[in-house]
Each structure stands twice: as C-alpha cells, then as structure tokens.
Symmetry: C2
C-alpha cells in the first residue's frame, strides 16, 4: 500500500528526470495518479515505465512545443509535438474551455500526441467552471469491428462530466468495448475464464480464454456480438477515432502507434501520433447554471432512489464507484501489484531518485 | 408493397388535415418516410396514426410558433411549442448549421417537442454542407438502468453523420439499448424467444419473453447486464437524456411524456414536452474539408476491406445497411404490415383523403 502524496511526488521526479519542466511534471503526475486514486489501476503509475520507455525510444518529446495550428471561435486543432498526452490534453482542454467562455462551446481535436491517462480527468476540469466537459481519445488497435478478425480500433474511451448543485457530479468515463484490458489482466492473474462477449480468438470466435488477446485475438466492441448489438459499440469506437484523429490529422484505425515501445510503428502513417477530442459546453449558454444544476440534482435523486433488483446493488450514478474509491485510497493508500512496484524500483534505481514512494 | 411517392403524398395530406401548413406537412412526411425507406419500419408511417391521436388528444400543436429562447454564438435553446418533433428538429438543426457556418460549430437543445422520427435524418442534413451532424433525443421511459426494476430512460438514440469524398457517408444511428422495441415486435409476430440481454421481467430478471415489456418488464441498456457492461449503455442513455432535456428544460427520465396517447402524462412535470439535442461541426473549422474527406475514404476503405470471420458477413460501415435498403425500397416499394395498412385506411376514411397510397 502506497501513500498518494509520496507516489505522486516520485512520479513527478521521474517525469522531471526525462526532461519535463516542473509544471509539466507536476501536471503529468497529477493526471496519472488520478487514475490510481479512482481505481483505474491500468491507467495509473502501472504505466509510468511505459511512458519512460517510449521517451527512451525517442517516441515521446518531453519538452514539446504544443500549439494551435488552426482555429475558429468555437474550435481548434492542436499539434501536441509528440508530447506526453498527459500534458497535451490538459492544454487542449484549457483551450476548449476558453472558447466556451467566449462563445458558448469549445471543441478541440488534437494530433501528434500520446496516451493521455484516464479520459475522465480531462472532462472533469470543466465542472468547476459550470461547464459540461467531454473527452475522448483513440488508442492502439486491439478491438475487432463486428464480423472481423482484424484489430482496427482501440478501446477508444468517452468521458462526459456534468456539474450538479448538491449531488456529486455526473462523471461517465468508459471504454467503448465490453471490457477493458485491465479486467482481463485480473482474470489472468486469478486463472479464471472470461465471460463470453469480452474477447474473440484469432479466428474471430467468441472466447473465454483471458489470454486470447495475446494469442492473436481481439477485444470486442460494447455489445459483444452482433445479436447483442456489437455494431453499436463499433459505431461508438469509430466515432471516437474519427473525431480524435481524422478531424485533427492524427493516425487512425490500425495505424495508431502502439503504446508499448517494443512494438514497431506502422509504415506509411496517414497522420501524426495519436489523437484526442476535447469539448466544453458552458451551461449558461443554454439555461441558467443554477436552474440546470438543481434539475441535475433532481435527475440524480430520482435515479439513485430507483427500486433495485432483489439481491443486486442499489442503482448507481455514473462516477459513484470512482469517487468512493478515491475517498478510500486518499485515506488508506493505493495498493500496487508486485510487478508494478518492481517496475517503479527499477526506475528509481535507473534514474537515481532519492525519495521513496 | 407501397410506392414511396404515393405513401409520402398520403402522409403529407394527413398532416395537412390535422392543421400543418404545406411546408410543415411536406417536411414531416419527408422525415417520417425516410424511416420507411431506410428500413426502420417502427419509426415511419407505422407511427402516423400515433401522431394523429396525440394531436386529437391536444398534446401536439400542428401550427407551432417554434422559437429560440436563448442563444450564444455557438448554442441555442429552442422551444418547440408542442409542435411535431418532425418539424421542430429540422428547424433546430438549421439553427445549429447556421451557427456552425459562422463560428465553427452549433449546438441546439430543444424543449417542448414531440417524437422526431429517426435520429439519423436530422444528423444527415449536415453532410451536404461539409459538416458533421449529430442528433439525439429522449423518449418514453422503457429502459431500466443497471440494477433497477424501474423504467427510467427511453431508447434514447444517438446519430452521427460524417461526410466523405467518394465513399458513401458514415451514418451511425442507434438506440442506446441492446435492442429496440421494433426487434421485439418481429419476435412477437414470429412467436420466437428473445435472446437474453435484450429485456428483463418485472422483477428485473433477464427474460427471453418478447412480451416481457408489456408485462411490466423493461428494455436493457446496451451491454445487457452488468457483466457485459450495461452500465455503459446506461451512461449513454443518461447523457442523451441530460443533453436533450436537462439542458433545454424538457422533461427527463421517467417524466418524459409517453408517445401513446392513451397513457396519461405524469403530474408535476419538471419540464416541457420531450427534448432533443442537435449539433453541427463544420469540417473546415478543423482542417480543409477535402483533406478530411479523403482520409475518411481511406478510413472506410480500410475497414471495408478488413478480413472477415469465416461464415460471417463482410465488415460493414455504419450506414451501409440503411443505404442499401433505401435503394431497394425506392425501386421496389415499401412493405407494410397488415396492421399498419389498416391504420392508414382508417385515417384515410376518417380524414377523407381522396388519394390512395
């Protein structure tokens, strides 16, 4: 069990060691640790060594010149200059919110970036300003479209954060697949089978083997199979890919560069880096924020008090589980898997970090 | 089998009979018939008598004063004045596109409207102007959130239409449930069971009974059950509800007025009518339209040529099945169920329409 503050401070030091300035290192650590706090362990410090290896391989620029390459009053395209998505995306979200301040909404498509941590972090920034925040990103191809054996899409998440008055905010943040890779890893460690509908094998047959992905299989779009409307998950993943990358000039579909540094980047790339799409809508561009937020409280109150199925949990509001996890982990610490601790110790040694985590 | 033109002309006459002006009647018929053409039979002329009954019950205003009640350069809220959603939504989409013309994007939330036909119709309007179109709406509560026995959401569809160069456009248009009601009706007629994951019974247990909905059950959010991530479908349906209704001041969640006129409207409504959310993003607010569209062609070409699973169909692009159906039905006519023909004949008699369909 690690304490949030010391883990964050360690992470910040690593980012400084690879050349990030103090502001970027602090920001990147904040984004990364927010995943650990919220229980999305696959997107937190477990990935720190992965970012470092991408930098070592020359695929991440730790002192990027992030800039707007095109804009209108409500839109912008941003070139992340191969920077960490962890700092490029907050820059882009700030632009989206500035535009929303001025003309109601702001929409920013980003190219030439890298993995940006959890989608929800960026969307949530809008809430403090009484805006709705949206965030999506494409990612390494692991998902097969309906009817295909090929991996052409990433888990391409969507996050939407909506402010409230007295209720906690509504925070939806989900991959557009039935299950994300992190859930398969848990089953692999436990030696348990996966439910049908999560993955398929190399031939495209539904599989319960949690290792199927490593053996040439693919994750399945939300829905799982055609009978359960996997084409809708495929639509969602495609929309995320197009908004993030075809709009911005990033790589899309099977051309998205892999997160792991040992896999080669495809040749003849159609774009630059990976892509994100960030949006902000000022509530009072539609109706008075107070009025909206009090209706959100009513909406949430009604859903929270819905009759639940015998023997099942109470009805949850998007964001509930992550918020509860954050409260627990801030107090009790963040549990890390042995392999992650080993990874971090290796980084500590390699980069001569004095502090513990 | 009915011909498109005569069915559309009949529909237009009915709308005129209930008081729509010529322009509105033509528009409403165009929207409604686009569903029949595209194979979404549940949203086409099969609903015509439903609209008429709502008008007869005083719940639809056939000569609405549709107006903007609040706006910024990139947003607007529109009051549909209880008009047909079939005419309110195109009005709202026009505003969204005008705003996109001027400041890059336009986003319109609509209150005090009614059922707006297929979501895709409205999104597709943007394509001709080299814009991405988006369209969503809330609807009568038929869907239970994950863990609940109560119906709190509609099938709340999302449509996204994206322009292309030589490929047909990318048109995603889907309910945020595993299966829409129309698919259950097909099973009811055939006397076949529904797959698990489509519906639950009154107690919230997964059911294969295609009549479960009428017996107090509920449709399930995309994903089907918690193990297959129905909470993601629940998130999507909720986002549609909030963007369409909490942003605009329409009714939301369980308070959305039912489409069928024999069901009473809830008391103490939190808003007015049902809500929609329409959006338009000008492509060249991000990058030159030509460049974007040629990359869309490449995207589509790659997905279309993906290796398919042995014995399954080729990989489809969102919009393919509906476009193919439209070509067939324009040529061969639109097949109507006997019950729908009876309904239309009754309308013909009641409103003294001379022409056949």
């Amino acid at each position: 069990m690690q304490q949030y503050e010391s883990l964050k401070s360690f992470t910040r030091e690593i980012f400084e060691k690879i050349g990030c300035n103090k502001f970027h290192a602090e920001l990147a650590a904040d984004v990364l640790l927010s995943a650990d706090l919220r229980g999305v362990d696959s997107h937190g410090v477990a990935r720190l060594s992965g970012y470092v290896r991408l930098w070592e391989a020359g695929r991440i620029n730790s002192s990027p010149n992030i800039k707007i390459v095109h804009e209108t009053p409500s839109t912008a395209v941003i070139d992340g200059d191969s920077g960490l998505g962890l700092v490029v995306a907050p820059f882009a979200m700030d632009i989206a919110m500035e535009k929303a301040e001025k003309c109601g909404t702001g929409w920013v498509s980003v190219k030439n970036s890298n993995h940006y941590g959890i989608a929800g972090y960026h969307a949530m920034k809008a809430i403090e300003k009484d805006m709705i925040g949206m965030s999506m990103t494409n990612a390494s191809p692991l998902v097969a479209p309906t009817f295909s054996t090929e991996r052409l899409l990433g888990t391409n998440p969507i996050a939407v954060a909506i402010p409230t008055e007295n209720q906690p905010p509504f925070i939806a943040d989900f991959a557009t697949t039935t299950a994300a890779n992190g859930k398969l890893e848990i089953l692999q460690r436990k030696g348990e089978d996966a439910p049908l509908g999560w993955i398929q094998d190399k031939q495209g047959k539904g599989s319960t083997n949690p290792h199927a992905l490593k053996e040439g299989g693919a994750l399945l779009p939300l829905g799982g199979d055609r009978l359960h409307s996997s084409h809708k998950g495929y639509c969602l993943g495609s929309i995320v890919d197009i908004f993030s990358a075809v709009l911005s000039g990033a790589n899309y579909g099977p051309w998205v560069p892999p997160f792991v540094s040992f896999l080669p980047v495809a040749e003849d790339l159609p774009g630059e880096g990976i892509g994100h799409f960030l949006g902000a809508m000022r509530i009072d561009a539609f109706r008075p924020a107070r009025e909206f937020k009090s209706h959100m409280d009513k909406w949430i109150g009604r859903f929270r008090s819905a009759e639940s199925v015998d023997g099942q949990e109470k009805v949850l509001i998007p964001g509930d589980p992550e918020r509860e996890m954050e409260q627990i982990r801030l107090k009790e610490g963040i549990p890390l898997q042995e392999k992650v601790v080993e990874d971090l110790l290796e980084l500590k040694k390699k980069y001569g970090i004095p502090s513990n985590f």
